[in-house]
Point group: C2
Chain length 276, copies 2
Amino acid sequence: MAEHWFCEQNTPGYSVQWKVVQKLHQETTPFQELMFVELEEWGRTLILDGAVQYTEKDEFIYHEMIAHVPLMSHPRPEKVLIIGGGDGGTLREVLKHPKVASVDMVEIDQRVVETSKVFLPGVASGFDDPRTRLIIDDGINYVHETKQKYDVVLVDSSDPVGPAVQLYSRPFYQDVYRALADDGMLVVQSESPLFYGQLFASIVGNLKDIFPITRVYLATVPTYVSGPWSFTAASKTHDPAHIADDTAIIDGLKYYNKQIHQAAFALPQFILERLG
Amino acid sequence: MAEHWFCEQNTPGYSVQWKVVQKLHQETTPFQELMFVELEEWGRTLILDGAVQYTEKDEFIYHEMIAHVPLMSHPRPEKVLIIGGGDGGTLREVLKHPKVASVDMVEIDQRVVETSKVFLPGVASGFDDPRTRLIIDDGINYVHETKQKYDVVLVDSSDPVGPAVQLYSRPFYQDVYRALADDGMLVVQSESPLFYGQLFASIVGNLKDIFPITRVYLATVPTYVSGPWSFTAASKTHDPAHIADDTAIIDGLKYYNKQIHQAAFALPQFILERLG
């Protein structure tokens, strides 16, 4: 059998190729092209619209960093909302916090959830947790209409093409602000500052116009286009870089620790300059 | 004209492709296959034995981090030795420090120096600085025989294949220890902890057996195989994570700042566990 490689074209002049052991599943959902493969070195992998979203090898980096930074810095993260994240990785991390009493997860594409439960190891359990409520809906609609007030909102979205594009817009962020409690905190994945610098700066700029506290933090996720990946924390009162006083570290994490939490907020000069 | 792409195979199951605008130069030196190309998004690029060493787009990250961390933490880095680094990027950064009185640079392959002066922008000036002494020699031989005592030694080597392989060995590190002043400090590039974890751990382990203080720090260099890149600082007395009290920040850097210096020493759990 001929070797099969999956190619992801990150920019017009740069692409990555991954050796595929086996294609596990492919379908066209109402929202996107969905595929699961087994990669030789990266393990089980979710690909949406040709972009690698999740690899078994390093998914822990992204999911620990989107979840534990806000949940360790907010002193009472009881009520959590996840927008997107249908693969279940962010949900799994959120549920590790004993302070979390409920997680509403709003995913637009039911098929991502259903197939991730089948093909991705170690994430399905989160959907069965009694604290989890799965809502199949457009995140834009949901936050526009909800009467809930959340302590922490996480936007775990794919790139701003396809179904995720409005999750990067100011009206959406304004709705999230309204759906947050008076000391609520939002974290969004905010793309690669080096590869997609303009997009990164516009996300941060939009959040700065709405929230009193906006802080960028970084983690390097090899699966995502080479270089540091950014998250932006936007908060009403609490400093996302400060770990709440009575917060115990969670056992068994593979990336996050308290030193990493603080170090992640140190930004290289070229990123500081891009943010003005 | 057909499009031309350069492919770097990082591991058996993972490769990166870069779009080439123009091939500038290629030759076989006595030591290695040497090539300069102009990449569409990454600019002027040096490739040795098929591995990308230097791209104009992000070389500043690697060179600032290998040079400024030791030079900002050593209180009197007057006498500096660079092993390798024939492209001149590390030399350029070292010479930015007013405390540096002399830099001996030992490069095995004269052709790397000569061609880098021609094809890489902004590095040639370092070779003309009156503080620079260029020595064309094998770094292994040089440190074994030298009577000099250096304050700071930087090993800016290519991967441990081809001419660089012995630069990762214990006897070499022992010779460097001997060639360092009583409060001297060594920094080596120590590869990707995620892609080449065993090699990384063995470099750190070798240094730990010889030096009283050994500390790993990280920087993400998109040009190098995706994920964090590691440096290891091995020191006789000074803590490489501590910036010397009277050290002023250097203007015009694009990556390094004092927050980054300290943050770079925070290691993710999976790296801490690999180091035992």
